[in-house]
């Protein structure tokens, strides 16, 4: 067996290397040679190839993501911005909150259970690495057609994986999304979000400083997970007897992760950690190079000391392994003994694998021989940057010209009633409780609101009742019709959802799910969506704290709908003031806030009734969204409303049905003068919400709306056991309930 040492590499400049198989381009390989002044060793090649991959380096998206910083609104709340494992926001009373949403799309298609489970595990470690206790998770999901046979494989596996992992960690699942569309058939989207809480002084960063400090790897042993591609390299470097085929699939062990969480929090409590990084994609390569790159000084690692699950792993594979449930900490020498004691207490294996050095190099040794000698920044932070060409697709104009507002509408009240039920029972609009009931939403005993409420809300301080709310939204149909507007609509909806529960939106995270960046049309969608999102965040005053980009979501040549998922985090000073969505009492007055226009492009109605996607998405008015949010927050604070529910896909009728069913009360609805009942019920105009106002507060509430210029229309009253739209139809709660709740269990139960 010949080890490809640094020395050997310098002596054999002409050895052919499998850079192409590892996904590097010729010029990238040349650049590595230029950086090192020689050919890379096998281990170095492995590190560069994986760290310069799209997934780790953001090489196609970087130039666009810059706007999130350049256009960032002034915001004192932002304690840690983009670039760290997750952003951190000041929520007052000395508390800081960190949150982030990430994708695990491709693994979840190959192995739905493990793919989704390890997606949750990965995002939780990101949050933990910031110094925070994880307090909740959410799961925005997209699947192919609900009735497609493969969806019956993917969805139950994904849901069981998210539940299996998250439930076992003791993290309440407080919300998410489930969307079906044929465009995700061969490429489901599994995004996972985690929120964590800490005190300001507990914030930790991923950087290695202080020469002589120890590098400690702790958590699970390292196995051959997720290194399929690098085996190419291993088999090149090793003789004919090369290692066995390695699994590309990572398997999660939530029990191990739970121990890792408790152990890490105890390490933080005793101030034993100088810097910390979780191990996710690209494993040790990523953790060591990022820690060294962000810190001062270099790092020396003895790779032989890494505890292995599989003794046959090559050094390249150890560097690449994506085995789950591992963390890497920088610890002062005097604190190592205590660090080890705490790990032992939690049955967590911990090993000193190296130390921070004076120099500026990342040096890795194997059996005493040097196999890596690189400037860490060139691996971690100075990867290639592409200015990919982009162009508005040729079909975009035609798509927008195919106006949904011209589709045939229901000709009679009976037909309108029929369509209401049909849209309500469609997989996208149907109740997702069959799915969400598989998630623990009560654990930790701080859940104030969870699905199906507009946003999830958890209490973070028992004595003051301080709480945070989070919602995620994204509409691929809108974004396909107009990526700039679609991204803003995702932001606006998520923002509105947070405000609807009474919380003040503070900051956002996002997961940008798109097709191949090598397709100029997709790249245009991406450029437009990021521009829209950055402009939107500036207008709303909510900075982007971090996020994730997932590209190459496509089947063959066909990309998914561009799907930016936006998560908004809000704060509420007293969770007692939260606004739920249920109509709980007969006699409550119903007000529609905002304006309804004829906007059916991309709507649920156009999809369900006409299988149509065309025209323009609803218009966005961010000033209006801000005003609406202020009204919703003020009304919650001053006890002027009993319930609120935002209007989004499915329109007013969807929101009314959900709030009626949640409270077990009917409603009598009057169509406002001059509005077409169909448009009134099904239009998806943005910037709207329905609220239930107690009679005693009506005047105060309408005065407030009037004074601030927010249109508020009285549309009815909570009443009876059915939804009555006067002059049109009535539908009993029972009939609504069976339409709404029957669909998903019938498909997957």
């Amino acid at each position: 067996m010949s080890l490809d040492t640094v020395k050997h590499a310098a002596e054999t400049p002409d050895t052919a290397q499998p850079w192409a198989e590892l996904g590097l381009k010729q010029d990238e390989y040349e650049r590595i040679r230029a950086i090192l002044g020689r050919r890379p060793t096998g281990a170095e090649l492995a590190m560069y190839s994986v760290m310069w991959s799209e997934h780790c380096s953001y090489k196609s998206s970087k130039v666009h993501l810059r706007q999130f910083g350049e256009k960032a609104p002034e915001n004192d709340a932002l304690l840690v911005g983009i670039g760290e494992n997750a952003g951190v926001v000041d929520v007052g009373q000395g508390y800081a909150v960190t949150f982030k949403v990430e994708s695990h799309n491709h693994p979840s298609y190959i192995e739905p259970y493990q793919g989704a489970a390890t997606g949750v595990g990965g995002i939780v470690r990101d949050i933990l690495a910031m110094g925070a206790r994880p307090v909740a998770v959410m799961d925005p999901l997209r699947f192919g057609a609900a009735d497609h046979p493969d969806t019956k494989r993917v969805l139950p596996g994904v849901v069981a994986g998210i539940g299996g992992y998250g439930n076992c960690l003791g993290l309440p699942n407080i919300g998410g999304e489930v969307v079906f569309d044929p465009c995700y058939q061969g490429n489901p989207l599994v995004n996972a979000l985690c929120v964590g809480v800490m005190k300001h002084e507990d914030i930790h960063l991923a950087k290695a400083s202080g020469a002589g400090n120890k590098v400690i790897l702790y958590g699970a042993r390292t196995g051959g997970d997720g290194i399929g591609g690098v085996s190419v390299l291993a088999s090149e470097t090793f003789d004919a007897t090369g290692p066995a085929k390695r699994p590309a699939v990572q398997v999660g062990d939530p029990f191990q992760e739970k121990l890792l969480i408790e152990c890490t929090l105890e390490l933080f409590r005793e101030h034993l950690v100088e810097g910390i990084q979780d191990l996710g994609g690209a494993g040790l390569s990523c953790a060591t190079s990022e820690l060294a790159s962000a810190g001062s000084g270099g790092m020396r690692v003895e790779l032989d000391t890494v505890p292995l699950r599989d003794a046959t792993l090559s050094p390249e594979e150890i560097l690449m392994s994506e085995s789950q449930e591992r963390m890497c900490a920088i610890v002062e020498p005097g604190k190592v003994a205590r660090f080890m004691e705490i790990c032992e207490k939690w049955d967590v294996i911990a090993t000193v694998i190296g130390e921070v050095t004076e120099g500026e190099r990342l040096e890795i040794f194997w059996h005493g021989e040097q196999i890596v000698d690189v400037p860490p920044r060139t691996v971690a932070h100075e990867g290639p940057v592409y200015e990919r060409p982009y162009a508005r697709p040729s079909w975009q104009d035609e798509l927008q010209a195919d106006d949904a507002n011209k589709l045939p509408r229901p000709a009679s009240s009976d037909e309108l009633r029929e369509q209401v039920l049909k849209v309500l029972a469609s997989p996208n609009q149907a109740s997702k409780s069959w799915i969400t009931d598989q998630y623990d939403r009560f654990v930790q005993g701080n859940t104030v609101l969870a699905q199906p409420e507009d946003s999830g809300m958890v209490r973070i301080d028992e004595s003051t009742n301080l709480g945070v709310a989070v919602a995620t939204d994204g509409n691929g149909r809108y974004t396909k019709l107009d990526p700039y507007t679609g991204a803003q609509l995702a932001l606006a909806e998520s923002y509105r959802n947070v405000a609807a529960t009474g919380a003040r939106p503070l900051a956002i995270s996002n997961c940008l799910n798109f097709g191949s960046p090598e397709d100029p049309g997709v790249m245009w969608q991406f450029a437009e969506a990021t521009r829209g999102l950055a402009d939107g965040c500036l207008a709303l005053g909510t900075p982007v704290t971090g996020g994730n980009v997932s590209l190459y979501n496509q089947t063959g040549e066909t990309a998914i709908h561009p799907t930016p998922v936006v998560a908004v985090l809000g704060v509420i000073d007293d969770v007692n003031r939260r606004t739920p969505m249920a109509f709980t009492e007969q006699g409550q007055l119903l007000y529609l806030l905002g304006e309804t226009h004829e906007e059916l492009g991309g709507s649920a109605w156009s999809q369900v009734i006409h299988d149509h996607l065309g025209g323009l998405p609803p218009r966005v008015d961010l000033e209006r969204e801000k005003l609406l949010a202020e009204i919703l927050i003020a009304a919650s604070r001053d006890g002027m409303i009993d319930a609120a529910h935002d209007l989004s896909d499915g329109g007013l009728v969807q929101a009314l049905v959900e709030s009626c069913l949640r409270g077990g009360n009917g409603a009598r609805i009057l169509v406002p003068e001059g509005l077409d009942p169909f448009v009134f019920l099904f239009s998806e105009s943005a910037g709207r919400a329905v609220v239930a106002v107690p009679r005693s507060e009506e005047l105060r509430f309408t005065d407030m709306c009037g004074a601030r210029g927010l249109p508020a229309t009285r549309i009815g009253v909570v009443d009876g056991e059915s939804l009555e739209v006067q002059g049109e139809f009535g539908i009993s709660l029972d009939e609504l309930r069976s339409a709404h709740q029957g669909t998903i269990p019938a498909l997957f139960g």
């Binding site: 390695r246 062990d253 029990f255």
Partner: protein, 81 residues
């Protein structure tokens, strides 16, 4: 009726947290000398009709497509005597 047994085990290179948890508990219970534990599934199928080549071929297919997840698991099929 004949019984066919399908054993499904995680592939050797795949992490087996269950087996590991069992193994780690053994010394505490006073059982020494077990170097490794892997935990898998055992399916007992009661087969109607003769268990001939054709029947076994079908069961093999069933194991491959349904009982085992061959992305992460191996399986064996055998007739129980």
């Amino acid at each position: 009726m004949a019984r066919v047994v399908v054993d499904v085990m995680l592939k050797p290179e795949i992490l087996d947290p269950q087996g590991q948890a069992v193994q780690r508990a053994l010394p505490r219970l006073g059982f020494e000398g077990i170097a490794d534990v892997r935990q898998g599934k055992r399916f007992e199928l009661e087969v109607q009709g003769p268990v001939d080549e054709a029947a076994l071929a079908r069961i093999h297919e069933m194991a491959e497509t349904f009982l085992a997840n061959t992305v992460i698991e191996d399986f064996t099929v055998r007739v129980e005597s």
